[in-house]
């Protein structure tokens, strides 16, 4: 796989068969893509509307991107953005919280771990729907698939919250049974986790969360398996999670109220890709100087958003119309592009 063959773009109706393949391949409860043609079509249509919408911030938009290997002319992954967690309603999480209870007389001071039901992440922009074909999981393709979203958000910041979050799958066995759910959610619902998940489907979990206890959960009172599951990642989530961690997302504060998986969050401006991003202009008089390094590069279009991996001089402020970055993104003289180094802290300049 040649990094130069990878292109990330908004999903199109023609991608429906590819999404069906992805929805079938992605494990239960891991992908947020429904394994159902009609629902997938609806997801694509909602995404088309979101990209096309002139309205800046209704908050209900969900954007879906696909990653294409141009050499094979095949979609090999997808990723998404939900503009506002909870769609103007509450978005529930458990916040890890530590309190110290002490008795001088008994000579005891205990640091107690509690889970605190909160709406802290309501309205945050959510990164969703990450899936990449196993054959592409090594190398830079997942970086492009995950991080191009951040540059999209940066470019169209008025459509998004400046704080970004992403849910990650928690521990569950082959049948989808989750030890965290068994110890917490199940006490309030007479059903299995997969059943509860199916009930909520793609919709807001708030109406279910309303049924959860509103006082803190003392972790010490949970069975050991549930205690261990708090903040634990399902193995299938490791790749997208590690990319977000390297970006600077915080994984220690919030967990999913259903399966206890870590929900990461960060301010957009503190994310590595955004901090190192800079704008270039296509300029015929440009002088390319400096060592070439791999970059994520995106154009400044919304509907025709494109993201690629490309080698650029590190300190470049311009690119020539004939340069690879301009030609592959289809940019003409005077157009802008936003770029960020693929491995900003790396000395291996050509890691892909």
């Amino acid at each position: 796989m040649n990094p130069r063959d990878l292109l990330l773009r908004p999903v199109a109706l023609a991608d429906l068969p590819a999404l069906e393949r992805i929805a079938a391949a992605s494990e239960h409860g891991i992908s947020s893509l429904p394994n159902d043609q009609a629902k997938l079509r609806a997801r694509i249509e909602r995404s088309l509307d979101a990209f096309a919408s002139l309205d800046d911030a209704s908050g209900e938009e969900t954007y879906l991107f696909v990653l294409e290997d141009l050499a094979r002319a095949e979609v090999v992954g997808c990723s998404g953005i939900a503009a506002s967690a909870g769609f103007h309603d509450r978005f529930y999480s458990y916040r890890n919280e530590f309190v110290v209870h002490a008795s001088a007389a008994l000579g005891v001071s205990n640091r107690l771990h509690t889970l605190h039901l909160c709406h802290d992440l309501s309205g945050y922009t959510l990164l969703t729907s990450f899936y990449i074909e196993p054959a592409y999981a090594q190398g830079p393709a997942p970086q492009l698939l995950s991080r191009a979203r951040l540059l999209f958000i940066q470019q169209f910041a008025e459509r998004f919250n400046q704080r970004i979050a992403a849910e990650n799958p928690g521990l569950a066995d082959q049948e989808g049974q989750s030890p965290f759910w068994d110890a917490v959610g199940r006490r309030f619902f007479a059903m299995d986790y997969p059943q509860a998940e199916a009930l909520t489907g793609g919709r807001n979990k708030a109406f279910i969360a309303d049924l959860m206890p509103h006082s803190p959960i003392y972790v010490a009172l949970l069975p050991e398996a549930a205690q261990w599951a708090i903040g634990q990642l399902h193995p299938v989530g490791e790749l997208p999670f590690s990319i977000l961690q390297e970006e600077g997302f915080d994984a220690d504060t919030y967990i999913d109220i259903f399966d206890g998986g870590p929900t990461v969050e960060c301010s957009l401006g503190l994310l590595r890709s955004v901090r190192h991003a800079h704008r270039l202009t296509v300029n015929a008089d440009a002088l390319a100087l400096g060592m070439p390094a791999w970059h994520l590069a995106v154009n400044c279009e919304r509907n025709d958003f494109r993201a690629i991996l490309v080698e650029l001089a590190e300190s470049a402020r311009f690119v020539l119309p004939s340069d690879e970055a301009a030609t592959r993104l289809g940019l003409v003289e005077g157009a802008d592009l936003l770029v960020t180094p693929l491995w900003p802290e790396s000395t291996e300049r050509s890691r892909p």
Partner: protein, 258 residues
Amino acid sequence: MTASENEHRLCVRGQQAGDLASMSGWLGQTGVAPDLGGGEGEWLILADAASGAPLACARLVEQLGMRTPRFSYHVGRVVHAAAELGLFRTQTTLLLGNDHSGESELADLACAPGLPAEVQTAYLTRLIEAALQRIQAQAPRFGERLIVELAGPLDERGQAPFWQGLGLHFYAGDRQAAQAKFGDAWRSHLAALLPRQTLYLSFLSEAAQTAMGQVGAAGQSAAKALAACGFASSQHVRVDDGGPVWELRLPPKSEISR
């Protein structure tokens, strides 16, 4: 009836010098020895009228928890309902508090060891009635309710399932040793370590859930005597062994003064 015959030769009196020695080894309705040395309040001793030997005791406290706060869990209910899911579940909740502060208490209900259960119940009934008479005579000094704590159940190894399922997670030390060292204040110290927000009973072990609010062996005779005198559960349980707190509503002061 032996018990009722016995009562003819009984009297209720205050504490006397010799009682401390004669009453060593007695166990009260909460499963621990009566606090003969330090407890506040007034002692009522049921004694053999002839010999003066103590047969049963109780301690009447005008207002509890005014020196050291007294803690208990209030047992409440919360309904979690979602019509669209057909869900309607009632959960039992526990909330740590000092709800009985300022109420009156009957503590240290104990009998001389070895008495038949019927006799114990009869003796304790006699003491409870004596206590109610004291209260009626000096109503303004007492609270709105008279409460009695009762021991929770123990399992075959002598452990309290409620403690194993709840308190032990917050105090890993020896409960009996702490009780022996601090007396009643031990549960105040314990409370500083316990959860301060509403707990859901369903998060505790099955054994702890079952034990919550049940009267253990140590409290059975007292429970029978209390029930006979009109006491019933106050919807509170003890913070350590989950034994129930029973209460009797005392007559309103205004009625008495009329």
